[in-house]
Symmetry: C2
Subunit: 198 residues, 2 copies
DNA sequence: ACTCCTTTAGTCAGCACTGACTATCCAGGA
DNA sequence: TCCTGGATAGTCAGTGCTGACTAAAGGAGT
């Protein structure tokens, strides 16, 4: 049904989207990703950027346009999106939006092993998480507010709003979980089953 | 602060946790991961399992105990956790629980490019997502209910409860987003800014 | 004129990960 | 007795990704 992407790295999607706008050289692409803060939702390093662009070129989604050597500096190759690339952006975007992909958050793995920790230790670390989450929520909220104050339209902040929603849901979950762990029956049953371990 | 893990793959944590219980050979580990359904929150394939165990051995977190050739069958190497491995499980688990790690959900990337799609198309694909999310929520809920009915304690279902919380939060977000996209002013401003594209 | 730091720009070796493949045993049907 | 399919168990080539490195230019301070 969903055929594999030739270049599955999400960074590739961002690159293609920028090239939709105008041809650019890799470094410029990286700069824009950073400047617009879109790199917060993508695993981005300069080396993977170059790798991904190479893969996109191999797949025929972009083509090297010209190699400029503008007054010294290492030569920079300008890339342009192709027709196939345009199609790929739209198709990929639609499919990403329509179908929830299996995600593997680190926290879920940790939760599945929560029973290894003594109840009071579990409560302690989860309290720290809750505080950290509060910090992130605060942070995200202020970046959104500042952008809005600068006149940025809501549609360009929708991904921040999304992570905000997730962070808040997680925080509620953690707080509830802490309460459950504090119940004396949990401590008792943990003693009984895990009492003699390591 | 947080030093890099020698074997950062979360699958390694699950492996170590099972070996905490008793020594095992790789295939057995895989079987248990599948049987207990813990593989739903970890990217698991048999080949990566073998790779990860090799890495764990190199890092000194597990040791090959014996190579059994139990009446034919390819020989199976039984691995046991070491003292360093025990320490690693606890340390890693605590840090995963206490500090929210930067996650990069695919959906966030897609959302950051939502403005590329015409409003009605965006609404259409998001409706499909919402339906798919409802399906997943239903699914997760029934697996939890069935497990509870089988007498599984809540602490062993906490990770399912977590993904449930996230799925529900995402669903609420998507429904709200659809409403925003349906506002006529959005369609109008989209026309103005993106009218003449591709 | 010299040194030092930052920015710009890109490369690369080494390891991690995955899909595809190999090979054996056993149960059951024809 | 032979054949087939599924379960068991593991290997490997090819590609992807990351951290660490290179290198030149520009500017600031002395």
């Amino acid at each position: 049904m969903e055929r594999r992407r030739r270049v599955p790295n999400p960074l590739a999607l961002a690159v293609l989207a920028w090239l939709l706008w105008e041809p650019m050289h890799p470094y410029e692409l990286g700069r824009r990703l950073k400047q617009t803060g879109k790199d917060r939702h993508i695993r981005y390093t300069r080396s993977s950027l170059y790798m991904v662009i190479e893969q996109l070129a191999r797949a025929g989604f972009v083509t090297a346009q010209e190699t400029v050597r503008d007054s010294a500096r290492p030569e920079r190759t300008v890339y342009a999106i192709t027709e196939a690339g345009r199609h790929e952006v739209h198709d990929w975007l639609r499919s990403l939006l329509a179908q929830p992909r299996e995600e593997y958050p680190h926290f879920a793995v940790a939760l599945s092993l929560l029973s290894l920790l003594p109840p009071d230790e579990a409560v302690e670390v989860l309290r720290r998480r809750s505080a950290a989450l509060a910090g992130r929520i605060e942070e995200t909220r202020t970046t959104v507010d500042e952008a809005r104050a600068d006149g940025v339209a809501w549609i360009f902040l929708v991904e921040e709003q999304y992570s905000l929603a997730l962070l808040e849901a997680e925080r509620r979950f953690v707080i509830e979980l802490i309460e459950s762990l504090k119940q004396p029956d949990y401590a008792k049953s943990w003693q009984e089953t895990m009492g003699g371990r390591t």
